[in-house]
Symmetry: C2
Subunit: 470 residues, 2 copies
């Protein structure tokens, strides 16, 4: 257990949402952030975990934020215009809160670009229900207002920490290849990735956490927000689109606005599988669930020549959720209906397993390299209360974002890629279990049970078409 | 528990294979078949369950049958050319054993057309690795030799019992629609189905059996033969092709030999999903795993006019295996490798759930009707030892086939559709839990989470294209 105050928050501290992540962040904040207990408020409509706040003498504002009450509620909590908002809710528009934070003059942290309710399951055409569009809303605010109070957009485990891992992975790969590297600016990092010959990156996750209560029929079980997961799982699949890619996948579409560095596939992420790779298990299927890091990382690592992008990696999430979530996905897709009930596995229920969350850099001279955090649920239990391994990988990143925002209060809107990965990982590392690096000679062209038609590109194993399961 | 000898087997009784089904059949044979204990032999290469045979004083011939030893071994067990062979093995060619049984002059029962090893995972083109081809081998023998000692081909739960359920379901549907029906010959049954307006039939199964030991990573877990399931799961999907169908599915192929009443899809059954329906759970995904009943039923119910087929139902398996098998499939497909280890859930390990195995008749005036057996694992435990609910639905059908073959010793090669469903279900019914009939207004066009491209035929909800998940 790491003790030590990393930073102080002067003024009020407001947490929006006290779900699985909000509860998990709390003990880390208490341990590592200096703040005024009398001015810590949690806004959370549910009373389910109110006792935790009551026991600690923290203020619980039991209401749901709406477009109507948002400004009034938040402004009243920051009478002197100082402090920080940590948004860990669903159903609250991130851009609205971010803009309000700027107006009030306080720092802001969230883990996802969340819209008001109605976006994820409305009648909107799929072309519009994309993460790309959500991210463009943030980018527009940023374009309109450079600088100002720091607002960290999308900083949990992924999006978030994985951007820091990409940087450590690049330095490790460079060292292992005997290539000198001292990147400082964004351009240096992009040039480094290009120079190393990285064609693409999976955010390659395997959640092996299991309870010994069989998944109850009709209940969607996950290790983190069921609502958060379902929302993104039934958006179209999305990915940053590498400059080496030769052809769009079936149902693939480009964007005709914004940086145009990504594509969407007219298929739910929850039903779009890729061949991927994680330690111990080796080859596995991951779901291409849309995520902000699949957009921010490839943009950050684009190399331009004049106006033209001459290098960009492919980048996307390749998510193997916990087995109960695999079953839950199969069930809701088969039912064609959202679940009637949901459950997040508490750390006490989990009898084995953990979360391996890393970045798989592929296409370089050493084939593929997985670099990431391997944390068991049992380890998580020993580190801090109220969270499983998945939650802890997120909450440590939220903590790091808060520390970094407190230390760098005037950076305007930033994503994890733009933050100091050394400082952030320093804060987070005690909560990540083992950081491991694994090379593998696996490629997506390997390993098949019998042969069925597929669109293989034997000339370049690292084409997206080889990863995508038809 | 039903006591009572239904039939006697004169001469020797030889069981090939003492796996999950062989062990489960044994107590039913002991209970309901008269036989000479001194002349009961089980041929089984594994010694894992030898103690069961030893304890009962039954002869265990511990060897694996091969093309080389088959004739010698079997002939030596039938010195007087009387008795019955019950083949419940994998990796032993059914046609070879069937032909030998005819030569020896004994009755024969199996539950699947099984080939010698090498067929399922060899280099053969997919067009050849079909159940259609396996079934044609049986049909050729049958064409060459009409009559002779009865050989029941493919009589377990499915293929097998479900053919009897189709008949009961048709009579029930006719009664509920107020249509008089007294079918006797095959032609009558086919005309009845046509007259009722049945467009298709799912063998609609939901296995809800769960243990409270989480599926161990790397182990393929199922409620019956893992080898048997994997073999068929990685054959191409296959289905009887109804005369109402307007267009072939993607990757769909017709057969240019034999009756030509079925199609195969160039995709493993293990990865070919259809929207289907079962009691309680309602809409669910099922896998189109190739099965003999998907070929025998639509052939049996074809109505000819001159040489032309003017009516035939679509028919296929829509299998939702137990949750551990869903996870196992996901795992082996993701790994692209067959499992290193396997496990069949014993009835003692199962803490809840059962097997709902029925036929879903759709497209008629009442929409869709599920008719089938609902048996819990707990009920199975009370009925006979050594089997879960899935096994019991199979073993009761094997028992019925043995009884019917003993009572009708000279019918030549037959499939379940051609047997007396009343007599067979009379024998099997005590082991089927509740036989239930459910109507539903569900169609495969209903229920979606968001809208993604699919090939919908709004004009006819019962087209295969509406069932198939893209
Ligand atoms: N970047 C990452 O790595 C990462 C990882 C996990 C979760 N997340 C995101 O973090 C968020 C929280 O995740 P979680 O697992 O704690 O979710 P959760 O579902 O457990 O909790 C969300 C909480 O928000 C509350 N809420 C709902 N509507 C609200 C409103 N109008 N006003 C205030 N609060 C409201 C809910 O009552 C709930 O307690 C989600 O958006 C999720 O997608 C990000
Ligand atoms: N029609 C149905 O409803 C239905 C249902 C379940 C199983 N089955 C079929 O029944 C068969 C048995 O199923 P199970 O669950 O008992 O399978 P299992 O894998 O538990 O047992 C198969 C047995 O066959 C034995 N065997 C392997 N090679 C052999 C050889 N060369 N000679 C003799 N024995 C050999 C194995 O040692 C094993 O004990 C399989 O073919 C399966 O597909 C049909």
């Amino acid at each position: 257990m790491t003790i030590g105050i990393h930073a102080r928050i002067e003024g009020a501290l407001v947490m929006i949402g006290f779900g699985s992540i909000g509860r998990g962040v709390l003990p880390l904040i208490e341990r590592h952030i200096g703040f005024d207990r009398a001015r810590f408020t949690v806004i959370e409509p549910s009373g389910d975990f109110a006792h935790i706040l009551r026991d600690r003498g923290l203020r619980h504002l039991q209401l749901a934020l709406t477009p109507e009450n948002l400004a009034e509620v938040l402004q009243s909590l920051f009478p002197e215009g100082r402090g920080m908002i940590v948004n860990l809710s669903v159903d609250v528009d991130s851009v609205a809160v971010m803009q309000l934070a700027r107006k009030i003059g306080v720092q802001y942290v969230d883990t996802v670009v969340e819209p008001w309710p109605g976006y994820y399951f409305g009648d909107m055409p799929n072309a519009e229900r994309t993460g790309y569009r959500l991210r463009e809303r943030v980018r527009e605010v940023r374009k309109a207002h450079a600088g100002g109070p720091t607002a960290v957009s999308c900083c949990g485990a992924n999006p978030g920490m994985v951007s820091w891992l990409v940087k450590e992975a690049l330095l490790r790969l460079a060292a292992d290849l005997g290539i000198a590297a001292e990147p400082r600016r964004r351009e240096d990092w992009a040039a480094l990735m290009q120079g190393l010959g990285v064609k693409g990156i999976h955010i390659a996750e395997r959640d092996t956490q299991v309870s010994n209560r069989p998944k109850p029929p009709g209940v969607f079980v996950n290790t983190w927000s069921v609502e958060g997961f379902l929302s993104e799982a039934f958006q179209p699949a999305e990915l940053g689109w590498g400059t080496h890619e030769k052809k769009l996948p079936p149902g693939g579409h480009v964007f005709d606005y914004g940086p145009g560095h990504a594509i969407w596939i007219d298929r739910p992420g929850a039903d779009t599988r890729v061949r991927s790779w994680c330690p111990d298990v080796g080859p596995q299927f991951g779901y291409v669930v849309t995520h902000n890091e699949a957009l921010s990382i490839p943009e950050y690592y684009t190399v331009h020549d004049g106006g033209r992008a001459v290098y960009r990696p492919t980048c996307h999430y390749a998510y193997h959720p916990c087995n109960d979530a695999i079953l839950s996905l199969h069930e809701v897709k088969g039912a064609g209906r959202l679940p009637a009930a949901q459950h997040i596995l508490a750390v006490e229920e989990i009898v084995s397993g953990g979360d391996d969350l890393g970045v798989l850099l592929y296409g370089h001279a050493k084939g593929a390299m997985w670099y990431g955090s391997r944390l068991t649920s049992a380890e998580a239990r020993g580190l801090a209360p109220w969270q499983n391994a998945t939650g802890m990988q997120v909450t440590g990143a939220v903590l790091a974002a808060m520390v970094w925002a407190a230390e760098n209060p005037d950076e305007g809107i930033v994503e994890a890629d733009e933050m100091d990965h050394v400082r952030c990982l320093e804060v987070q590392r005690p909560y990540l279990g083992r950081i491991e690096c694994h090379y593998t000679d696996w490629t997506p062209l390997r390993n098949r049970i019998n042969h069925f038609p597929e669109d293989r590109d034997e000339g370049d194993p690292w084409q997206f078409t080889n990863f995508l399961v038809p």
